[in-house]
């Protein structure tokens, strides 16, 4: 078996060979280098495989024949194997990637690369402190050499700053080593574990540790590193971020044993601070390379934390660290390389990636992986980490992590959205040589493979997690097919999935209801997709992702699956929204808000075990005392999704800017996820107190205010889709209110309205989509009189609004009726009346919607408009039929729903006697009402038709116009600002407090970020002083002011 | 008041000045000096209000006499700048740049007398008479009775009386 020392020896030999080579043979030399790196990879790779399979034992290599501590020894165990393999593979790929650069550059550069690799390898493997120091120095010098391969002033100054910094650091390190030697008498790490016990040894440990920590570029003493990232060639940047940072961290890991226990938290905290703050600063960063630099630093900090707390994390340490390490390795390197390919730090220039689907896809993968969304390793690692920390009540740590993560998501997805919408007119087809694409693709494959193994490792329920993920992956693969084929495939897949899932959940009506809402909703909302031409690239994978994410929510498994589904759904819908034309900002908002909600939930999941042990939050006993905080966190998380007032500002933009036929999916269907969550926590936690105040009471008010606010805002919208979106806010408020009543009837109303809202809102959005599809406008005042040309859509909207308004005899009235009973039983008169008021306010915008679009004066340019396509109408009419059935036989839905509600919930339930629904307040018979109304209607209608059978049909301008005649349809159609009087009277209710608040937050944070960034002056001396200050502060922190 | 008239006489060649009352003068100037005179009165003498623009049709002289009557709020006095324009090619400078409302008068004059006001906005649109396609009805050569008889079906047997004599023979037949 090849001894690991040969990694070094190969390197050295190559270096010599390169030295011999002539300038003319540059290209040949590059190939030599390639082979060498390949060989080094082989060696470490063989060890890796060997150790994995167990055919090899971990070994030490003794250089001078003596045993340590009298000689330097290189160790090769699993850890080293992994790291060296990473290093060497990376080296190999870097050489390939830099092929063109290396061909031109002198041969010294080649040898620098070799030296760099050797240095890292040894740094990883060596167990000798001084040897470590030496090779750290070698690496630093090599790094400096690499940084300045771009011969511009920026990079040179950066390299110089780096040298200054590393000299300071190495000074500290050297002193530390000297102390250590003087105390222990040898330099082998394994013999120093008790160093801190020795009197004064602590100082030595402190110095060594400080040096290494500084080397790992912790905030805020890392200005030099950032400048380096910013100015160095992307490939070098990737090397720094992907391999040298892990190597340093591994050194930390190696040294941890000799660090006293009580220092661990301090170091960990330092890492977290770095994580949080670097991400925070990155949010303001426009320059890509610097942004990536910040992000690398942040990841380094996170990993430092993990390493520092390795003892604490116990056996889940490996899982966590690998998750972060590998993601950072693949994704960060990939992003840097892409930066090299795009060859610009201007975010808008990245539009050329849109021309290369594969590269763009990988770009997306890397971004998502960095952001820690499923199904990528960071997601699981982060989850595990939070869980572990929560067990130790490390709330402050969790807060830091979550803050950092949300900032991370903020800038990553700002970038992604910008690139997604970047102007297409780029310098035509970019020529990208294979040796630049190849490494990126390889790493893309790498990260996908890693995440596959991580998911395998989790041992999810295959049916609910693995199959969906595979289907999504399949749709990624077949994305080149034409749209209608994919549409058929996806619908088929969903149908088949429903077929196989049905027996699983037959027993559980709760699941059945939600599953059918999600599945049926998914299928029906896909049908209009048949009207779109072309391949519609990138739509179906994420539609599938969204729907299956929703489906994951339904299964009763563990919290992780739920959370994973939640995140997937968020991600998928984010992309769906982002696809809209003007959707960049709305989508960004949506992502931020849903991420915020998700992290609140994550924290809640962390806290949950303290109250409920390790059970799924959905099926708790229902009586968890004193879990108020958890409940509030959950509630906030879900109410973000249901857009409760104040948290609603993302909704209108997101819903209205999404593609017209995707809107029903992301609104009507998706929003129910929030309802599902709320229903679960309400039923499974039971009444909760927060500071002695009943949370349900609070939620009730929130719901009422949301209902009014949403509807009020809807009145003044001129944009069709925004109007409907706001009305969703209103409906959600209604549901929140009903849930918070926490009575049998209330929960029943909530569920009933969930289904009903799903039906009519999807319906309305679809017919809106149909109208927009034909008229190419969303402003209602530009339409009018469309009833003549699209009668079917009109009927759908009519049914929809009658249901929404809850008028008898249609199904909506059932909800209203139960609502009154529930309110009166509960005794929440004021809130109840507010909700009722909102219900009447709904009339205003409903009337505006139907009247100014379908009635009134037909506009000139819509004279030839045809009825919406059949594929739009078909699902709508399926919904209409559903509504009709529910209107005549509400019990078919209400009775099963009633069985979902657990018995512990107080309050009386509805009794059914045939078609008669009874409460103690009264009873009501949908069937009777329906028949009566139909009979009356028919009678009067016939009477009228008999009477005016000879009526003369007239056209739109045959109206009495004060003895004049109308001039233009535009001047005769009253639609714009229809409710001016209402605005004059109650407009003050609509002051956009929420928007002001959130804009305030964002402005404020950006301002702070700007202030903090000014700390990085870009001046070498200042940086050096930062380092010393840092060391000093660290000393104070650790020693608490005493002599160690 | 006298002073103002003298100023006018100094500034423009005034053909005739007719004193109606102490606070109402009729000053006749040449066609091209009418508008400058009005402008002068408005800007220099504070006659800030355009009372009206009216015209008298002197068929015998073959002229239209335009009157621009302006009012001074301080003096409570009016001055009418009169000018004669040829009846055949009746054209006058527009005054709408002085007073917004002037173009309404001019539009009316165009319709009723066929006086052209080049540059006056909307001057060609019909004002009172929608779709009038005859010679302008206020010109005295237009025979309105003839026109009415051949346009609106006159009811046969309609007679007109001189009110005085008719009343006399109705009320006091025996006088």
């Amino acid at each position: 078996m090849v001894s690991p020392v040969h990694i070094v020896s190969i390197g050295l030999i190559t270096a010599f060979l390169l030295g011999l080579g002539k300038k003319s043979q540059q290209q040949m030399l590059v190939f030599v280098l390639m082979i060498a790196t390949a060989a080094m990879t082989m060696v470490s790779g063989s060890w890796l495989i060997g150790l994995m399979t167990g055919s090899l034992k971990p070994t030490d290599v003794f250089t001078a024949g003596f045993k340590p501590p009298f000689a330097i020894n290189l160790r090769m165990t699993m850890d080293e194997a992994v790291l060296t393999t990473m290093v060497n593979v990376f080296g190999f790929l870097t050489v390939i990637y830099l092929f063109d650069v290396l061909k031109k550059a002198g041969k010294h550069l080649l040898s620098i690369i070799v030296v760099f690799l050797i240095g890292l390898n040894v740094v990883v493997m060596t167990r000798d402190l001084f040897n470590l120091f030496v090779f750290l120095e070698i690496t630093s010098i090599a790094t400096a050499g690499l940084v300045i391969i771009i011969q511009d002033s920026k990079s040179i100054s950066a390299g110089f700053k780096f040298l200054m910094a590393s000299s300071v650091i190495s000074g500290i390190l050297l002193i530390g080593i000297i102390f250590a030697y003087s105390y222990v008498g040898n330099l082998n790490i394994d013999f120093m574990t008790n160093l801190s016990m020795v009197k004064g040894g602590a100082v030595a440990v402190f110095l060594v540790m400080t040096a290494i920590i500084l080397e790992s570029k912790q905030f805020p003493a890392n200005g030099w590193a950032l400048d380096m990232y910013e100015s160095a060639h992307p490939a070098i940047g990737s090397a720094l971020s992907a391999v040298s940072a892990p190597a340093i961290l591994f050194v930390v890991y190696k040294l941890m044993p000799m660090v006293p226990e009580n220092w661990h938290p301090v170091i960990g905290l330092l890492g977290l601070i770095t994580f949080a703050f670097s991400n925070f600063l990155a949010t303001r960063q426009e320059n890509i390379r610097r942004m990536l630099g910040y992000s690398s630093v942040a990841q380094g900090g996170l990993m430092l934390t993990v390493v520092a707390m390795s003892v604490y994390f116990g056996q889940s340490f490996w899982f966590i660290i690998l998750g972060f390490l590998l993601t950072n390795f693949f994704a960060k390197a990939g992003l840097f390389w892409l930066n090299g390919i795009v060859n610009s730090d201007d975010q808008n220039k990245w539009g050329i990636l849109r021309k290369r689907p594969v590269l763009f896809f990988l770009f997306g993968v890397f971004v998502v992986a960095m952001a820690g969304l499923p199904p990528f390793p960071t997601f699981f690692a982060k989850w595990e980490m939070i869980m572990q920390l929560a067990q130790g009540n490390g709330w402050g740590w969790i807060v830091l992590i979550l803050l950092g993560s949300i900032f991370e998501i903020a800038f990553l997805f700002k970038w992604f959205g910008r690139v997604f919408h970047a102007v297409k007119d780029q310098p035509a087809e970019p020529v990208i040589p294979w040796f630049k694409e190849f490494p990126v693709m390889l790493f893309g494959a790498g990260i996908l493979a890693t995440s596959y193994y991580f998911i395998k490792y989790q041992q999810f329920d295959n049916l609910f997690v693995l199959i969906p993920l595979l289907i999504v992956a399949a749709f990624v693969v077949i994305d080149f097919l034409p749209a209608f084929i994919k549409n058929i495939l996806l619908i088929a897949a969903l149908t088949f999935y429903g077929y196989i899932i049905y027996p699983e959940i037959k027993g559980n009506i709760m699941q059945l209801v939600f599953m059918s809402v999600f599945l049926v909703g998914g299928i029906l909302t896909l049908i209009p997709g048949f009207a779109t031409k072309g391949t519609r690239a990138g739509f179906y994978p994420f539609a599938a992702m969204t729907i299956f994410g929703l489906i994951m929510l339904v299964n009763p498994g563990d919290n992780l699956t739920f959370f994973m589904g939640w995140e997937q759904m968020a991600l998928g819908s984010y992309i769906l929204i982002l696809r809209g034309k003007k959707a960049e900002r709305p989508a960004q908002q949506y992502m931020l808000f849903s991420a915020g909600g998700a992290y609140l939930m994550l924290a809640a999941f962390g806290m949950l075990p303290h109250f409920a042990g390790d059970t799924f939050f959905g099926n708790l006993s229902g009586l968890i005392p004193g879990a108020g905080v958890v409940f509030v966190l959950f509630a906030l998380g879900f109410m973000l999704k249901t857009a409760a007032i104040g948290l609603h500002i993302w909704l209108p933009g997101a819903y209205s800017e999404a593609e017209d036929d995707a809107t029903p999916l992301v609104s009507g269907v998706l929003i129910n996820a929030g309802v599902l969550g709320l229903f679960w926590i309400v039923t499974s936690f039971g009444p909760q107190q927060l500071f002695g105040y009943d949370i349900f009471q609070l939620m009730g008010w929130i719901g009422a205010i949301t209902a009014i606010g949403g509807n009020m805002l809807a009145i003044y919208e001129e944009d069709m889709k925004r109007l409907i979106a706001y009305s969703s806010v209103g409906a959600m408020g209604y549901i929140i209110f009903a849930l918070s009543m926490d009575s049998k009837l209330g929960l029943l109303i909530a569920l009933y309205y969930m289904v009903l809202h799903f039906i009519y809102k999807t319906m309305l959005f679809m017919s809106a989509a149909g109208v927009i599809y034909r008229t190419k406008t969303r402003n209602m005042y530009e339409m009018g009189g469309l009833i003549k040309s699209m009668p079917w859509s009109f009927i759908v909207v009519l049914i929809g609004i009658i249901t929404l308004a809850g008028m008898p005899p249609l199904a909506g009235f059932a909800g209203k009726w139960m609502f009154y009973n529930a309110v009166v039983m509960k005794g929440w008169y004021l809130q109840g009346t507010m909700v009722f008021f909102s219900g009447i306010v709904a009339f205003l915008y409903l009337y505006k919607l139907i009247a100014s679009v379908f009635l009134g004066q037909l506009k000139d340019n819509h004279r030839r408009v045809k009825e919406a396509p059949f594929v739009y109408l078909l699902p709508q009419f399926i919904f209409v039929i559903a509504i009709m059935v529910l209107s005549i036989f509400p019990q078919v839905l209400l009775e099963p729903l009633a069985t979902i509600i657990p018995d512990r919930v107080p309050g009386e339930a509805i009794l059914w006697d045939g078609r008669l629904a009874m409460t103690s307040f009264g009873y009501w018979n949908a069937f009777a009402v329906m028949t009566t109304v139909i009979v009356m209607f028919a009678t009067i209608f016939l009477w009228l038709t008999y009477h005016s059978r000879k009526a003369q049909k007239v056209k739109q301008f045959n109206i009495v116009f004060a003895a004049e005649r109308p001039f233009r349809p535009e001047t005769t159609h009253v639609s714009y600002n229809m409710f001016a009087g209402y605005k004059k009277a109650l407009g003050w209710l609509m002051t956009p407090l929420a928007t002001q608040f959130w804009t305030g937050i964002s402005d404020w944070s950006t301002a702070i970020a700007d202030k903090v960034r000014s700390w990085y002056t870009g001046n070498g001396q200042t940086y050096a002083m930062h380092l010393l200050l840092y060391a000093f502060v660290l000393y104070l922190l650790i020693s608490g002011g005493k002599i160690l | 008041m006298e002073k103002i008239i003298q100023h006018l006489q100094g500034a423009f060649d005034v053909k005739a000045v007719k004193k109606q009352r102490n606070d109402l003068y009729f000053v006749t100037v040449g066609k091209d000096q009418a508008i400058p005179a009005v402008t002068y009165l408005r800007d220099a003498e504070g006659f800030s209000h355009l009372v009206m623009i009216t015209v008298a049709d002197w068929m015998e002289k073959g002229v239209f006499e335009l009157n621009y009557i302006v009012h001074n709020y301080q003096l409570h006095a009016d001055i009418s700048i009169c000018t004669n324009i040829d009846r055949e090619e009746a054209t006058m400078h527009s005054a709408h740049h002085l007073w917004e409302q002037a173009w309404t008068y001019q539009r009316e004059l165009k319709e009723m007398y066929g006086i052209e006001f080049p540059g006056s906005p909307r001057v060609d649109e019909s004002f009172n008479l929608e779709g009038w396609d005859n010679i302008p009805p206020m010109r005295r050569e237009f025979d309105t009775l003839k026109y009415a008889n051949e346009t609106f079906f006159p009811r046969p047997g309609r007679v007109s009386h001189d009110p005085a004599t008719y009343m006399k023979q109705k009320l006091y037949p025996n006088e």
Partner: protein
């Protein structure tokens, strides 16, 4: 479900009675209004003639299907309210199809008529229709708030949404009437009633002399006939609703007619005394005194 034909017969009879009563009442009101204006006024039976005249119009025009359906919706709304309202307390046959929970049903049937009318009128495409409707709906939103609170108060007081039971709870002398037992709710409801009847202070919806007659500008002939029929039925039904809710219902026709007539008179008198509110005046008005009163009323029970 088995249909009780006799009851159906009685219901239709009741409908007929109410229709005539409504027409006469309207004529009478007009007559009284005239008297207040020192006029003699139209004959009491004038509404009948108008109705016949409108149904007898020879020619008609239509703007489209929804224009057609508007009056139908409206009349269904009116008749529906009547159908689900118990007329005479204690009489099986005169209680129409009123089953418990009907207060809610009735309140929502008002919307039914309104919405239908709104849509029909707007297909006429007349700007005044749009303006009138937008005003009407705006005003209606705030009218309903105090009214609903009052109704809820009554319902809570009698622990039922059933008019029959609410009436039953008020039997036995004037002191048991809800207007006495819960005056705040009663007054609030009566104030809201003004808005519901769209009489003078709050008649900006139809606003004669301003937007000629608002929504029904385009309606004529049979359509108008239907609307008039509806008005006759609806106004009476609404006043009967008030009677049932707050004035102890009625045990026989005479009592019913007397009471409902008095109730109906309240908006008429107010209308004769007060000038018209603008829409942005009337909306806040309902959210002030009536709302406060109704809130007090709801917390009194």
């Amino acid at each position: 479900m088995s249909i009780d034909w006799i009851k159906l017969l009685f219901t239709l009879l009741g409908l007929f009675i109410v229709l005539n009563y409504g027409l006469l009442q309207y004529g009478l009101i007009r007559r009284i209004t005239a008297r207040i204006g020192k006029r003699i006024g139209m004959p009491v039976y004038q509404p009948y003639i108008d109705l016949v005249k409108n149904y007898a119009m020879r020619s008609q025009i239509t703007h489209g299907v929804m224009f057609y359906l508007g009056p139908v919706f409206r009349l269904v709304g009116g008749v529906g309210i009547f159908m689900f309202m118990p007329l005479i307390y204690g009489s099986y046959y005169w209680s129409n199809y009123s089953f418990a929970g009907d207060v809610i049903l009735i309140m929502y049937f008002m919307f039914f008529g309104m919405l239908g009318m709104a849509l029909g009128a707007s297909e006429g495409g007349h700007p005044y229709s749009f303006i009138g409707i937008s005003r009407g709906l705006s005003q209606f939103t705030t009218v309903e708030v105090p009214f609903t609170l009052a109704v809820i108060a009554v319902a809570v007081q009698h622990h039922s949404f059933s008019l029959t039971e609410i009436v039953a709870g008020q039997q036995g002398g004037i002191m048991h009437w809800n207007i006495m037992t819960n005056p705040f709710a009663g007054i609030a409801a009566m104030l809201a009633f003004l808005g519901m009847m769209m009489a003078s202070p709050f008649n900006v919806v139809q606003a004669p002399q301003e937007i000629p007659i608002g929504p029904p500008t385009e309606y004529h002939g049979t359509y108008l006939g239907l609307l008039q029929t509806n008005r006759a039925i609806l106004y009476v039904s609404e006043s009967i609703l008030m009677v049932n809710l707050f004035f102890g219902g009625a045990t026989n026709w005479v009592e019913l007619i007397v009471k409902s007539f008095c109730v109906f008179f309240w908006p008429v008198f107010v209308g004769l005394v007060f000038p018209r509110f603008r829409i942005d005046q009337s909306i806040p008005w309902f959210l002030k005194i009536p709302l406060i009163l109704s809130i007090i009323g709801i917390f009194m029970v």
